[in-house]
């Protein structure tokens, strides 16, 4: 059996039954492979969960970039396009999202769910690229020291949006769309040149005068 087919088979099982297969043996057997063969590809079901999330993220980035308007987008719009595409994908896989996120939320609600580790690492790279691009276009203000923390802000935003989606009960998850719109606008207002920079500049000016 091709390892590429194990993932969809596992996802299918998870969505149908609402839980992972009881044992790796049972799952492998149903796929017509031995348990040993399964471990050659994945160490556990949790690893597949993580890879599935990472796949969603990659698909979202690729699909969003195919949109003809993408080339004309600034960093803010690219991030929005990514989120909306991701939410489209997640809508078709909501059962999986609820299962995996819900599970880790119960166990350790304040921590980053481990199932997202690969997904979030990819997002971090993507975001770093966007922020770099934003700095060259002037959408993002250059602030030595402080700007190192931007990645964390956007990571929290990603988590906020995922949790909002998980809890959203509006038809077609329209409230999540609105939440994305507002959250991204706010975050780019924060990292863009704003009152803070002018205040800093002013403060620096005053200090220089005195010396």
């Amino acid at each position: 059996m091709e390892p590429t087919l194990l993932k969809p088979a596992y996802l299918d099982y998870l969505r149908r039954h609402g839980h992972a297969p009881k044992t790796v043996f049972a799952f492998a057997d149903a796929q017509g492979i031995t348990e040993g063969e399964f471990y050659r590809h994945y160490a556990s079901f949790a690893v597949i969960d993580r890879e599935l999330w990472a796949d969603f993220g990659r698909e979202a980035r690729e699909q969003a970039a195919q949109e003809p308007a993408w080339q004309g987008y600034g960093a803010r719009e690219k991030l929005l396009a990514f989120y909306y595409t991701l939410l489209e994908i997640l809508k078709n896989n909501r059962s999986f999202a609820l299962l995996t996120l819900g599970r880790s939320q119960q166990r350790q609600p304040s921590l980053v769910p481990k199932v997202l580790s690969q997904f979030e690492a990819d997002f971090k790279d993507f975001m770093a690229g966007l922020l770099h691009e934003g700095r060259t276009t002037g959408e993002v203000a250059s602030r030595p020291f402080l700007q190192d923390g931007y990645g964390r802000i956007f990571m929290r935003q990603l988590q906020f949006i995922l949790l909002y989606f998980v809890r959203d009960e509006s038809a077609n998850f329209e409230r999540t769309d609105a939440a994305v719109e507002k959250a991204v606008t706010l975050s780019f207002d924060l990292v863009g040149r704003n009152t803070f920079d002018s205040a800093l500049d002013f403060g620096r000016f005053l200090l220089h005068k005195r010396s």
Binding site: E67, A81, A171, R175, T185
Partner: protein, 436 residues
């Protein structure tokens, strides 16, 4: 305030409620200042106070787009319900709401058609040309045709009820209205708002009204394209013309303005008398004015259409009939029929109602009683608003705890006050007699 882009948008219901609470406090502070100034003998007229409160309230409302804004607009239309200073602030809301981002517009299209706008149209401008109250309008081109594509904000329908529930106590307290005054109004507003979020309904209505009113002179209706429309997307022809204020800035001639006013007047007369169905949202944003053929009005936005039941239509028309006003007995029996007067009313109360209503009818029905009416005289609209203010201030009337008459009259009233105010801004002289 009005030309600044809106930045932070409060997301959750709690955050929005918090903003309302904040306004409540600020308005409270304005009152304190008002009375403090009075106490030390400074001149602080009530008009100033209203102005300050209105600015606060508007500042808050403008940060919350969607249905709150819409409610504000509708209240603004009903100037009779609001002190003028509030109404003026709310009217500003008509042209500004924060735009949807490009990706969200793309997503709305993918949701509806499975394709992005650039695949559906030959040309699609990602920047919105105009804001509509619950969405925005994009310019597009397909097969050489210029199109207007209206895209709705996500989640508007879901938030209407909670928004109205939030607006209500604030409106009651800040505007000094009684709950009974506001309740039927808000109920109607809510029903219309929910209808307005349904673009499919709007499309059907737009097509129907255009088919029925297409023969009226100097009016222009857009063609709607069902294949390019969905629940949250509406595609129609891009009509030429400008909004009222911009159009007025070009100094159109009196003849043009008269023709435009006449077209509007005939349109509403025809709807009320023949169709028993009203385009019930005559605020300036819904009409486009141009000098084509000596003055043409483009009619947009059929989101708010009011069906008028035959009985109410007859009552309303009889009330406007000059013969009714001249004959107090006939007026009294008509008002009893409409449920405004009740047989159980004490004579003094009955007398009071009759007196106020005769006064209102004389004023509201005035254009209907003359052959031509000059709306260019601002004194008329002013006295109309003044009457509304007087009624609000009238102690006897305020003590009546229950509203009278049909809730349908609320919309008829709003429609005609809206129409009158449009005609006044146009400064049009209109032949008001109806000829079938």
């Amino acid at each position: 305030m009005s030309d600044q882009p809106q930045e932070s948008l409060p997301t959750s219901k709690v955050a929005r409620a918090a903003r309302f609470a904040k306004t409540g406090f600020k308005v409270g502070a304005n009152y304190v200042q008002h009375y403090a100034k009075r106490a030390v003998g400074a001149d602080s007229p009530t008009a100033d106070l209203h102005q300050a409160n209105a600015a606060e309230l508007y500042g808050t409302l403008s940060e919350m787009k969607g249905s709150v804004l819409k409610v504000a607009q509708m209240l603004a239309m009903e100037k009779n319900l609001l002190p003028p200073a509030y109404a003026e602030q709310f009217r500003q809301a008509q042209y500004q709401t924060p735009p949807l981002s490009g990706p969200l517009v793309v997503k709305a299209f993918r949701d509806a058609f499975g394709h992005s706008p650039s695949e559906i149209f030959d040309e699609f401008e990602p920047q919105a040309r105009q804001a509509a109250s619950i969405g925005q309008v994009h310019f597009a081109r397909k097969l050489g045709k210029e199109l207007a594509v209206k895209v709705q904000y996500p989640g508007v329908g879901a938030s209407i009820q909670s928004d109205i529930a939030m607006v209500k106590p604030v409106a009651l307290r800040i505007m000094g209205l009684r709950e009974e005054t506001l309740r039927p109004y808000l109920a109607e507003v809510e029903a219309r708002l929910l209808e307005e979020t349904d673009y499919k309904l709007e499309l059907r209505r737009g097509q129907a009204v255009a088919a029925k009113c297409g023969h009226l002179p100097h009016l222009q209706f857009p063609t709607y394209y069902p294949a390019l429309s969905a629940a949250r997307i509406l595609t129609m022809d891009w009509l030429p013309g400008q909004h009222l204020q911009e159009f007025q800035a070009t100094n159109p001639s009196q003849a043009v303005r008269n023709q435009l006013g006449q077209a509007l007047w005939d349109f509403y007369q025809y709807q009320l008398r023949e169709l028993r169905q009203l385009h019930a949202d005559p605020h300036p944003g819904n009409f486009l004015f141009s000098t084509t053929n000596g003055g043409t009005v483009g009619v947009l936005d059929f989101g708010c259409v009011k069906d008028v039941p035959p009985l109410e239509q007859q009552q309303f028309l009889s009330l406007l009939d000059p013969a009714t006003l001249a004959n107090p007995d006939q007026l009294a029996s008509l008002l009893t029929e409409a449920g405004v007067l009740r047989p159980t009313d004490a004579p003094a109360l009955r007398e009071m109602y009759l007196r106020t209503l005769t006064q209102s009818l004389e004023l509201v029905g005035r254009p209907f009683r003359e052959d031509t009416f000059d709306f260019g005289d601002p004194a008329y609209l002013k006295s109309l608003y003044a009457l509304g203010d007087d009624l609000l201030q009238d102690q006897e009337l305020r003590q009546q705890r229950e509203p009278r008459g049909s809730a349908h009259f609320v919309y008829l009233n709003r429609t005609y006050v809206g129409l009158f105010s449009l005609l006044t801004e146009l400064g049009a002289v209109v032949r008001t007699q109806y000829t079938a």
